[in-house]
């Protein structure tokens, strides 16, 4: 279990420091090099390959059209080719359902510098969480790993998620208080980013849909969808359409306050940490008709409303033998 914190001066510096951190903690760095006006890094552990790209006044994924973005982008596959650029790495990567464009997730950034970064891995280094305090009090994240903590037995397991979809990651034109851009991200692993596109993926064989990635999102067609969608117990800005055991059906913290946002008890000040449950859609005629099966929980990441209810952002929180770091809307297992 490893942890590091520091101050990144730019998206490129952030990625370079992340590559160094991971190379020292169980991941093999296959490439860490300049690409365009930014930087790319590919690392692997076993057959899980993480392909990262720091973009600097550039476009990101193939579908995305903003040409002046700043972000840290991520997707996974099960291979690497040093002759290929970041965006077309080989192996089994998430592909848009209507073409072969890679899909991924992002942490929306700016030119920098940024307030802080926090890097985490678990005891086996199989799971990685990256948090960046983009501006004071605005926290963003990326995370990935070799396997969800599975519910039942199924084939697959690799997963990754981010503050925003890969498509919206480079966007710079948002006003104030947009989660994942100008406001702290929604709970990691929730359904869709604040703009309505999936920001989570898992490789999972489901019924007749095998060997492919599932989008944790509500879209069920088109380029921002892999061909199968899943859902999450955690709710962000977007309210999902499916009916599963969800922590909240609304983001309004009113009367009554949804379960997800009522997790810090007033009597003893304790913050409960809710596991983020991912479900996959089953074969069905369309949309949600096939129902959803629980496939597992996100490693290291928990929904939490501790910040704003007695806990300071990025403060340590000890529960039994474990220490967590609490951020707005979520917590990360630190040690």
């Amino acid at each position: 279990m490893a942890y590091a914190t520091g101050v990144p001066t730019s998206p490129v510096d952030l990625l370079q420091q992340l590559d160094t951190f991971l190379a020292a903690n169980g991941w093999t760095s296959d490439r860490s090099a300049v690409e365009g006006s930014g930087w790319t890094a590919s690392l692997h552990k076993g057959s899980t390959y993480a392909h990262l790209r720091a973009i600097v006044a550039e476009a990101g994924f193939a579908t995305e059209t903003v040409g002046n973005g700043y972000a840290l982008l991520l997707y996974l596959s099960d291979n690497f080719d040093s002759m290929q650029p970041w965006v077309t790495q080989p192996g089994n990567a998430p592909l848009e359902s209507i073409n072969t464009n890679r899909m991924g997730v992002a942490m929306n950034l700016a030119a920098g510098p940024f307030s802080n970064y926090y890097f985490f891995t678990d005891g086996t280094n199989d799971n990685v969480v990256v948090i960046v305090e983009k501006t004071p009090g605005v926290y963003l994240h990326l995370a990935w790993g070799t396997s969800l903590q599975k519910a039942g037995a199924w084939t697959g397991g690799m997963y990754f998620h981010g503050s925003t979809s890969g498509y919206y990651g480079p966007y710079q034109a948002f006003g104030p208080n947009v989660p994942g851009f100008t406001k702290t991200t929604d709970c990691p692993g929730c359904v869709n980013d604040s703009q309505g596109f999936a920001a989570g993926f898992v490789l999972c064989d489901v019924d007749a849909f095998t060997g492919k990635w599932i989008t944790i999102g509500d879209l069920v067609s088109g380029q921002f969808y892999t061909g199968r969608h899943g859902t999450s117990s955690a709710t962000g800005t977007y309210i999902p359409s499916s009916s599963i055991p969800r922590y909240a059906q609304t983001t309004s913290i009113g009367n009554p306050t949804p379960f997800q946002f009522a997790q810090t008890s007033q009597l003893d000040g304790r913050a409960n940490l809710l596991p983020v449950l991912w479900f996959t859609g089953r074969d069905g005629s369309s949309g949600n008709t096939g129902g959803f099966s629980l496939i597992g929980t996100l490693p290291m990441i928990f929904s939490s409303n501790g910040v704003g209810n007695g806990f300071l952002p990025a403060s340590d929180y000890v529960l039994g033998p474990d220490t967590y770091k609490i951020f707005p809307n979520f917590a990360v297992l630190k040690a």
Binding site: F259, L267, G291
Partner: protein
């Protein structure tokens, strides 16, 4: 935890059998195992002389094991495949496909038997549970409640903070029903005929499930698993039943001869505590699920996520308000079970029911068993309801 499955001749015999189950023997907690063999341990329960201690059951060969209590010391050895029975602990170990080897070890804690504070067969029982560490005094009870004209034969349930031999059932200190039944306590709907049952106990609480004709009713008496520290919430006592009326006083309940008290009643007043009420509450007494808050108030908890005055129950509040009908079994056909959590608008999350979980009703039937690791759960439907949101599970071992 320990469990017993059996049949009672009627609602009164069920109370007597529960009394025997609780007071004649100690309970066990969930066992752990470390070793090579993949055999199983079942039928775990304490004996008449059980105390709060930890037993180590260590194999010395493929079939022979020793039994040593942390307080009692060494007991007679045992053999896999042969029921082991002493006055301290009882169980049966069954060999698996991979043989045990020397050093394979089961570890299990026992509790003392519950104490009878009032035993009046044919009328009422009040018990004191010792807690899993024999450090608590958890007071609960049940009283027969019947009427021939109304054709109902029920229990009135109780939780208390103390016991006084000179006081009647409804006037014990801290009674869940309040002074003069201001918040009439939950009822457990039974009948005067044969009742298949499940008792599941540990040192902190007991769960009863009864099959009445084709419906299933359940009650919960004892502590929840509190999320708060013992200092903040020292007595997290819950009373869950199957029937309540949204009445400010007992006079607001149906009349003594009303058939609305029967197990066959159809309405939200008859729901099991994990699915408590599901519609808006006017009183804490409208909820089948009650919890004594740290303030000393008995709060009602509602499986309705629009509830803003009284408590709520997750995830059944989602099931009944927003629907969980899209939740299917796992990809491998197994089932996942989610905790049932009590929280309210104050804002506080009090904890979860001990050994009761939420399960999807997709492809589900009452009395199904679900095995997750070494845990075995039995699936229960909400009285007569069988849609996808109407099931919960009780952990047997």
């Amino acid at each position: 935890m320990s469990y017993q499955v059996g049949t009672a001749t009627d609602y009164s015999d069920l109370l007597d059998q529960l009394d025997t189950f609780l007071t004649s023997q100690g309970m066990t907690l969930s066992p752990s195992y470390a070793g090579t063999g993949n055999g199983t341990i079942a039928g775990l329960i304490g004996g008449s002389a059980s105390v709060a201690e930890t037993f180590t059951i260590a194999f010395t060969s493929a079939t022979a094991f020793t039994v040593t209590g942390s307080i009692t010391g060494a007991l007679a050895g045992g053999t896999a495949g042969v029921a082991y029975s002493t006055t301290h602990i009882k169980f049966t170990i069954t060999a698996g496909g991979t043989a045990f080897i020397a050093g394979d070890t089961f570890t299990v804690a026992t509790t003392p038997p519950w104490t009878s504070k009032r035993r009046a067969s044919g009328d009422q029982m009040i018990w004191q549970a010792p807690g899993n560490g024999n450090l608590d005094q958890i007071l609960v009870g049940a009283k027969l409640f019947s009427n021939v004209t109304g054709d109902y034969y029920n229990w009135r349930l109780a939780g208390y903070t103390a016991f006084s031999s000179g006081l009647d059932f409804e006037h014990q200190p801290g009674y869940v029903g309040g002074v003069g039944q201001q918040f009439p306590s939950p009822v457990f709907n039974l009948w005067n005929s044969t009742i298949p049952y499940w008792f599941v106990g540990n040192g902190r609480r007991v769960i009863v499930v009864a099959k009445i004709s084709t419906v299933y009713v359940s009650c919960y008496l004892g502590f929840i698993d509190s999320y708060m520290s013992p200092g903040a919430f020292p007595y997290p006592l819950a009373v869950g039943g199957s029937m309540t009326w949204d009445a400010g006083l007992s006079s607001g309940e149906p009349g003594a001869t009303s058939t609305s008290w029967r197990w066959s009643y159809v309405g939200n007043e008859l729901r099991n505590y994990p699915e408590s009420r599901t519609t808006g509450l006017g009183n804490a007494a409208g909820a089948q699920m009650r919890l004594r808050l740290p303030s000393g108030t008995w709060q009602g908890f509602n499986a309705n996520n629009t509830e803003s005055v009284f408590g709520r129950i997750w995830p059944t509040c989602e099931g009944h308000s927003a629907g969980m009908q899209d939740w299917r079994p796992n990809l491998d056909g197994g089932y996942s079970i989610l905790p049932i959590v009590l929280f309210d608008q104050t804002i506080n999350v009090y904890g979860e029911l001990d050994g009761v979980g939420c399960v999807t009703g997709f492809g589900q039937s009452a009395e199904n068993t679900i095995t997750i690791g070494s845990d075995i759960w039995v699936v229960i439907q909400d009285v007569n309801r069988t849609t996808k949101i109407d099931y919960f599970a009780v952990k047997l071992t």
